[in-house]
Subunit: 252 residues, 2 copies
């Protein structure tokens, strides 16, 4: 698919990832509750899930939505999705988020959980989302927090100082672009973008931002997974909810 | 004035501050060009400058605007403003940003440079700005970047690792509230707020965000003031430009 990165079809990565997604983890305890709390009413609506993975969210949406389209670049992911999370009103499609021009809308909700930090061209992605949404439609996405993607050197980023206080190392924030990250297999490529780039790109494509969340773990979640306390130092995720304006005059 | 913090009337602080503002500094080379690039056309308009300091921006605005109101908590600041930066269409007023209910609008532009990180109640401040703006009016403000205000311990925040790479220490990001900062005099109090709090507070008060900037120093600026290179590691400032929506339905 266009030479886009597809780590999810690397067998080693995939095994590790399945393992990660099956347990109590940052996504289940922190990102998912936060993003789902911003979900609009999708009763009878058309939903697109970009980077749907193995389709957990698609199956949730399918209970109320009229139609759900889940796209992912990974055939392995979609095989799991079709086996475990099918429904009569869900279509799974192998498609990179760089290839949204192959889809036709309109959708009432475009949803994406933790995929947009892989997007090679964020401007085009948001432009495509605007085109695919009905007027008043909602774009709801989470991605790695730009503080997390900033540093080019990702070794030992949580550090204790001489007083035992833990902090996180931010560097290279102003240099947008590729970041090579170790995640199960070496050299997963994330795209670092500034928060201001994300916000402005949404605004300049006719979106009205309605919510922004940097999820904070509560005591209960930290009790279930003590490593979540790290997210008190700096957030792992950022979530935006934006409404497609009726016309571009909305955003001038 | 309500017991609000007024460091600017501390004589030691004030001398150091005058000195800082007079030279080539982060504000002149980084924050001011960025915020002024987002200024709307103010020809014949009414402008409010919150935390106007000694009135440099007010005097600039007065060349085109119909009327400029500059408010500041500090009598010393306003004395300089009235002496050095007066014009027939500028009114300077000693007023804390916590007391905006004493003003009557409507204004076409509310401008604020590097003051909102002192606001005790950001929700009330934004609510007041929405009330004081005409429909379609613009709120344009800069403040310290939340990455900058995050850590409770502000000692030695720029650090070099064993490879000589410089990074910035972020901590306590999820804990909003007072931060005691050393700045000329000890114990200047800033208010740390998450980016998501700033964005959501704007959205939930009927503002349509139209731009966000985290200013990045260019080569020329770094040549004039080498310390600006720090801002390649992480931004010192964040700037938002938002339009007051015609009605609250704009933001649902």
């Amino acid at each position: 698919m266009n030479g886009n990165q597809n780590i999810f079809d690397d067998p080693d990565f995939f095994e590790g990832y399945l393992d990660l997604r099956s347990g109590r983890n940052f996504n289940d305890l922190l990102e998912q509750p936060a993003i789902l709390s911003l979900l609009p009413d999708i009763t009878g609506k058309n939903v697109l899930d970009i980077g749907c993975g193995y389709g957990i969210n698609c199956l949730q949406f399918a209970q109320k939505a009229e139609k759900v389209v889940g796209i992912d670049i990974s055939r392995r992911m979609l095989n799991v999705a079709m086996k475990e999370n099918s429904d009569h009103n869900i279509s799974y499609l192998q498609l990179a988020m760089e290839d949204l021009d192959r889809l036709t809308g309109p959708f009432d909700l475009i949803f994406s959980s933790l995929a947009f930090h892989y997007a090679l061209d964020f401007g085009k992605l948001i432009e495509d989302c605007a085109r695919l949404l009905a007027p008043g439609g909602i774009l709801l996405f989470s991605q790695e927090h730009p503080m997390t993607t900033a540093a080019m050197n990702t070794d030992h980023r949580y550090v204790k100082d001489e007083n035992g206080n833990c902090f996180f190392k931010v560097a290279d924030y102003q240099s947008e672009g590729e970041r090579h990250v170790r995640w199960f297999v070496d050299d997963v490529i994330h795209q670092h973008r500034k928060i201001s780039t994300i916000v402005s790109t949404l605004c300049h494509n006719g979106f009205v931002i309605t919510d922004c969340v940097e999820p904070k773990p509560d005591r209960k979640a930290i009790k279930q997974l003590p490593a979540l306390a790290r997210d008190l130092i700096k957030p792992s995720f950022i979530i935006f909810r934006a409404r497609k304006g009726d016309n571009h005059a909305d955003n001038t």
